[in-house]
């Protein structure tokens, strides 16, 4: 979270590493196949954020934030093929985040709180890379502007997390097969997005 909030500098890969560590902790509670599903979900999310990084040609989180502060959120900046690719990647990542949240499915209230926090963390990563709403990077901004930017940032993150949790609610009562299909489709979508973004470079 400190990397995503800009409290410390670092590349995007550190965030993926942190998510991998969370996935390891979650998967310790699971048999091998659901563990594999959790890890593959992580791989799709990593691929999606990689597309966001490829769009701007950098893995550095500060640069990713900075370029969006100047040009606008990644999913809205042309050329159209690049914007579409990033949109597809973001959509796939949000759907897969729902699958990831369900491995293991939360039981009691504590599970929901922890799981929700972890989903919010991934949503923060997605928001930071694809739909960062900040129009300044806060340095030198006045208190009111800074507060507004932070609220917008938190709002975008909350909406992203809410969408993922909503999809998870829909997937909760489905069987393993549906989750595998969702994962496969999302993975294919990320591959298509990667091909699209490669064509714009």
């Amino acid at each position: 979270m400190a990397y995503l909030l800009g409290l410390v500098p670092g590349p995007l890969v550190t965030v993926v590493g942190g998510l991998a560590l969370i996935t390891f902790g979650r998967a310790l509670l699971l048999p091998l196949l659901p563990s594999a599903r959790a890890v593959l979900s992580l791989a799709v999310i990593a691929g999606a954020v990689g597309i966001g990084a490829l769009r701007w040609g950098t893995l550095d989180l500060a640069e990713l934030r900075g370029v969006q502060a100047v040009l606008g959120p990644t999913v809205t900046v042309g050329p159209p093929a690049a914007a579409i690719a990033c949109g597809i990647a973001l959509g796939a990542a949000v759907v897969v985040l729902a699958v990831w949240f369900l491995e293991p499915a939360p039981g009691d209230r504590t599970d929901h709180v922890w799981g929700g926090f972890e989903v919010a963390l991934v949503a923060l990563a997605l928001a930071t890379i694809f739909i960062d709403p900040a129009r300044s990077v806060l340095h030198g901004a006045g208190l009111a502007i800074a507060l507004l930017e932070i609220v917008r940032w938190a709002g975008v993150t909350a909406v992203t997390a809410a969408v993922a949790l909503g999809i998870a609610r829909l997937l909760r009562d489905t069987g393993d097969f549906v989750r595998w299909v969702v994962l496969g489709v999302a993975g294919a979508a990320v591959a298509v997005a990667a091909a699209l973004i490669a064509g714009t470079l």
Binding site: A2, L7, V8, P9, G10, P11, V13, T14, V16, G17, G18, A20, L21, T23, F24, A27, L28, L29, L30, P31, L32, S35, A36, V39, L40, L42, A43, A46, G47, G50, A53, L54, G57, T58, L59, L201
Partner: protein, 476 residues
């Protein structure tokens, strides 16, 4: 420097002298092992010292590989001895470690080759009682011949007797092949025919010393091939019903070698993490049922372990290379490696889960468990110092270090205060761990021994020829 270079040899002599002193031998082996670990650790910390002695001129990459490999070797001597006071493994570990250190620190081709062969002789002797010794000897001799051929091509062809920072042309490919064979890149065969003796870390240690020094140039296609091989090893381990030791032990070495082939200047964490993880797996047979999660985390390269730093550095470097060129063919291997490194992280997670969640009977040596915990601790501490932040921003390093410390503290607190009872492990039967290898059929065994002898004699003759030519032109 002279103490660090020859200290292991002195320990070998002490072990040899102690061979008849039965009443103090067990304690003596323990003391010798601990001194050996200390010598390896000191060598690691002096990697940037610039201290020179005669033909020794340490370069950080090979120095780290040699220091960590020696420390791991002595830890295995300590653990596998089980208080029996066996002087022979300690003696051979001293000779092998001394040879590896003198090779890794050497600036000149001829003495480096001679010390390399000394280390190999100790390894060959240590494996003589193993079931799969024939294929072990053959692979060992092949790696020696390949290395000697690579260095000989460079030295004789260029009439340059100093070891270069990065070889080129055929020399590079010979030496890279030597590193791969020496690392036990392919599980189950070759060097994995004998993995039941404590000198094993010297093998990947030699490979890392080569990859961190002699090869020293970016080879994205080779790195991609090795990375794909590492992923194949992980997948093979996951789909097999029985846990074969050679797969999780070769996985970290293969992954970190891939990192070194694509980013030669990658931090020391690569070779250190590969060796530490591999050693923890080698300790597994005598630490079953204990330190499972620690062992799993060591081979996963998750943050904040040492290997994670290396992976991050490699990912950033390959990403920059991939986006720096518009030529599709040039960018292809870099792009592929960049894409596969997160996949490797994912594979590490599943491997870690498989290892951590195994249902296995408890049968452990306390020393081996303590050493595994120690290796885990060292790996975490080594990972706290980030190597992926801007070198020009000194404050950034401190902030990331503090962040890692806070995260580690939070993790420990969570484990202590908000942990729940461990869930029932999945599965019903104790999973067998394969550590013994079926011997080759007699004819194959004899053929392998003959081939090993031929290749070994050929390689040794080549090394002696290089020495003769070197002395003839008066390189000393």
């Amino acid at each position: 420097m002279v103490l660090l270079a020859l200290g292991h040899g002195v320990l070998a002599l002490i072990a040899f002298v102690m061979r008849d002193a039965e009443e103090v031998r067990a304690r003596g082996v323990q003391v010798i092992s601990l001194v050996g670990v200390t010598l390896g650790a000191i060598l690691f910390f002096l990697r940037h010292s610039g201290l020179k002695w005669r033909t020794l001129d340490p370069d950080p990459g090979p120095t780290v590989a040699a220091g960590v490999a020696c420390a791991c070797t002595w830890l295995l001597v300590l653990s596998l001895d089980k208080g029996r006071g066996r002087w022979e493994p300690a003696c051979l570990a001293g000779v092998g470690s001394c040879g590896l250190v003198l090779f890794a620190l050497n600036a000149w081709a001829v003495p480096a080759l001679l010390f390399w062969w000394t280390s190999s002789a100790a390894l060959a002797a240590a494996a003589r009682n193993s079931v799969g010794r024939s294929q072990f000897w053959l692979a060992l001799a092949a790696s020696d011949l390949l290395l000697t051929a690579g260095i000989a091509l460079h030295a004789l062809g260029e009439e340059i007797w100093a070891l270069p920072g990065g070889l080129s042309g055929m020399s590079f490919w010979f030496v890279a092949a030597a590193a791969l064979v020496r690392a036990g890149f392919l599980p189950r065969i070759g060097l994995w025919g004998a993995s039941d003796f404590p000198l094993w870390p010297l093998l990947p240690g030699g490979a890392f010393a080569i990859a961190g020094g002699l090869t020293g140039r970016e080879e994205p296609w080779l790195g991609l091939a090795v990375l794909l091989g590492a992923l194949a090893i992980a997948v093979w381990f996951l789909v097999r019903p029985r846990s074969d030791l050679s797969f999780p032990a070769s996985w970290p070495v293969a992954l970190m070698l891939a990192v070194l082939f694509v980013v030669p200047g990658v931090p020391w964490q690569a070779s250190a993490a590969g060796l530490i993880a591999s050693t923890s797996v080698l300790l597994w047979p005598i630490a079953t049922g204990r330190a499972q999660i620690e062992r799993g985390l060591l081979i996963s390269f998750l943050p904040p372990s040492a290997g994670f730093s290396a992976i991050v550095v490699a990912a950033v470097a390959t990403f920059d290379q991939a986006t720096a060129t518009t030529d599709v063919l040039s960018a292809a291997p870099w792009t592929a490696v960049t894409a596969l490194l997160p996949a490797a992280l994912g594979a590490g997670v599943i491997l870690a889960i498989r290892v951590s969640r195994r249902i296995e009977a408890e049968g452990y040596e306390p020393t081996a468990v303590l050493v595994t915990w120690g290796l885990f601790f060292v790996s975490i501490v080594a990972g706290l110092w980030p190597r992926f932040v801007s070198e020009t921003d000194g404050g950034a390093t401190s902030r990331v270090f503090v962040l890692h410390l806070v995260a580690l503290g939070a993790g420990i607190a969570a484990a202590r205060f908000v942990s729940r009872p461990a869930p029932e492990k999945v599965g019903e039967e104790v999973e067998p761990l394969v550590v013994a290898y079926a011997p080759l059929p007699a004819l194959w065994d004899r053929t392998a021994q003959l081939a090993a002898a031929s290749v070994g004699v050929g390689g040794a003759a080549l090394a002696l020829w290089v020495t003769y030519r070197g002395l003839q032109v008066g390189f000393l």
